[in-house]
Subunit: 226 residues, 4 copies
Amino acid sequence: MTASTRPPSSRPAGQPQRRSRANGVASRHAILDAAARIAGDRGYEGTSIKEVSELSGLPASSIYWHFTNKDELIAAVIERSYDGWIDALRTLNVDDTATDEGSAEESFRAGMRRSAEQLAQFPDFLRLGLMLTLERRPDEPTARQRFLDTRAATLSRLQRHLARVFEGLDTTMTHRLAALILAASDGFFIAAEAEGTDLVAGFDTIAHAVFSAATAAGWSPTNDRC
Amino acid sequence: MTASTRPPSSRPAGQPQRRSRANGVASRHAILDAAARIAGDRGYEGTSIKEVSELSGLPASSIYWHFTNKDELIAAVIERSYDGWIDALRTLNVDDTATDEGSAEESFRAGMRRSAEQLAQFPDFLRLGLMLTLERRPDEPTARQRFLDTRAATLSRLQRHLARVFEGLDTTMTHRLAALILAASDGFFIAAEAEGTDLVAGFDTIAHAVFSAATAAGWSPTNDRC
Amino acid sequence: MTASTRPPSSRPAGQPQRRSRANGVASRHAILDAAARIAGDRGYEGTSIKEVSELSGLPASSIYWHFTNKDELIAAVIERSYDGWIDALRTLNVDDTATDEGSAEESFRAGMRRSAEQLAQFPDFLRLGLMLTLERRPDEPTARQRFLDTRAATLSRLQRHLARVFEGLDTTMTHRLAALILAASDGFFIAAEAEGTDLVAGFDTIAHAVFSAATAAGWSPTNDRC
Amino acid sequence: MTASTRPPSSRPAGQPQRRSRANGVASRHAILDAAARIAGDRGYEGTSIKEVSELSGLPASSIYWHFTNKDELIAAVIERSYDGWIDALRTLNVDDTATDEGSAEESFRAGMRRSAEQLAQFPDFLRLGLMLTLERRPDEPTARQRFLDTRAATLSRLQRHLARVFEGLDTTMTHRLAALILAASDGFFIAAEAEGTDLVAGFDTIAHAVFSAATAAGWSPTNDRC
DNA sequence: AATGAATGAGGATTCATTCAT
DNA sequence: AATGAATGAATCCTCATTCAT
């Protein structure tokens, strides 16, 4: 009747199967997985503890053993997702350095394409984050603020990246372009979610526009390594 | 927040303020107003009928006389907001034609600025719409679809507009730029909501980038009327 | 949104179609028809004015113009159904007299068969009546009493009939057999409703058993008119 | 009617009487008791969760911990009642074998009388069951089907019993007589509920009639063990 | 004769959370 | 480390009924 029957967990088979008693880490993991999926689909208010309980296979009261609050549960989801996100970004940047893609513009576009591909693979994080951002709950939940923090971090990363790519361009412009990239990324992500628009195509448009804007603003590709 | 919103209608004050019967239109209006405000702030699941009832001054059961569902109520909100939106756009376009703003780029930027200003004045519509778009409720609510319809309409408007502005540019490019404008608008709107970023500045960046991109793609401003 | 659009009423086409204004009789009829159908299916508590309104095509408030209460509406349903019932019975008895069916037993069985056939044609009346009978609402509704009255009337009819058929048998026995017939009829009706059992077969069993019982109790078929 | 039904469990009396936690079985029992009483009186739609909550002394939300649905609650009521019913029947049959009641007919009548007495003592089960049977809700509730199952079981029991009692009689006839007994029992039960008719007398009539019918159909009491 | 609009009470069910074990 | 049971407040929505027009 309740979620007390453990569902077949998708863990590697090599691990000891006896999670049922006294294995906090695995339980915490299962809860976060479930919460991430549901919250990514339905937002903060749409996420009910009972559903998380059912999907994770743990009773609702166990969720409260691991997290003090629904609020903190969602905040933890954001946090964990962001860590995964950053990891992925790091990998991406490393690859970036490795392969040489000819002209600066082409290299820039390639980077954007890779971002799009990554985004398409972990859509839950951004979807939840944007929902949290848009909501104006009177009791500002922790989760929202946590996401906004990750947002700010992403933006300054981007700014630094652009400063490197468009070396010589004045900072105001690179900042504005960074903001544009972030905004347009969000927008294309939403469009992709809504109408199934191709994310990669969208990101390519962004790259083209940003590059043109930088050029129009006086930048010229003297040195290519970005 | 209580029933005092409605006019007292010259009735003995001691009585329990029985709302002037048989005035469906006004009531419907009041309900939609309330629902628009709340849903604009908190999204679909965050909007409770009781709160709408309190803000509109009508009992919850009366709401169900006017709308069969919470779903249909929110859908009606979207619809009405869109109508207001379109009206505002029309006014905007008329002004557009009237005033001559020098070069094509300046004229384009001016148009974008006006859009931003308008958006800043009616944020509820877009905020609600975006929240609906991001949610993935299993029983796809009417409201969401309604918003997506308005979205599609806006996009084709924009495409036609760009076709006029960048006469001679090939359609694929104008389409991609239209999508970029819409996406970046959404994104800057979200950023403005989240961090208080200046919407007008964002839209100016869009205008600059789009114009540069069009120019880079081969377009040149021979004729100026946009 | 409401039931204000008149559905195609199933009245004979010869009648003037302009029922829409000021034709109380037809409206009353439509309401009773709808109420009979719904109440026959779902019982007293299961019958909602709104549903009756929708099925009849008249707004709920109009129902209250014709009937003071839900209670009285259902009572009126019972009453009207009973009238139809009695009419049908009368026809049945007349036919009974007309055709001569050989032996007393055969004639009796034929009568029972006809009863079964009639019952199978108007099941709503008995179903509703039995539901009302079984319910023990604290505020005994009018409808229930009304049905019990019709019940008593039916029983004494039956007693008189048996007295004629089993002339010479002592009254106690005929009374008990009358009660048996009524009880078994109800029971077979329920079985038929529940499991689709053949009503006619059941009634034939009743006839057989009653006839045997009467015979065993000392009656012998000297005179045949039943 | 309030939370006082449960034992005080030696707790400081000033406190809000927090029910002794973790005693699911007793609570489930209390809920079923309350539901059985109310549903037996008022049928499915007439049974409100709030009333069950009040009578059982548990908050409405607790009922939903034990039963997923109103539907499943009522179904559980049926199930439990049937078990009690069967138990009582078993006891009854054992007594049947023990005492020797002279002639086959007298023995048969005695059995019927005992059934009547038992029925008179647990009227809620049959009353609810019959109400469920008569209702035609569009979403066939579980409870109804559950009752129909018990019905079918009872019928085949009865058939086997009659086959033993009227050994030698052809099966078609014993089946028809079994159906008659069940039907007439239901009918007399209803009559007893409605008008206070004596159930035992009714059942005696059934016994007499069935016995006469069997005899008339060619059966003769050669061996007496029933 | 009829009806659009309104209304308070109550319907079933879910909510986030607690706590004894 | 975990959980069965409980709980009050809130959820959306339907109820029978009323009344001005």
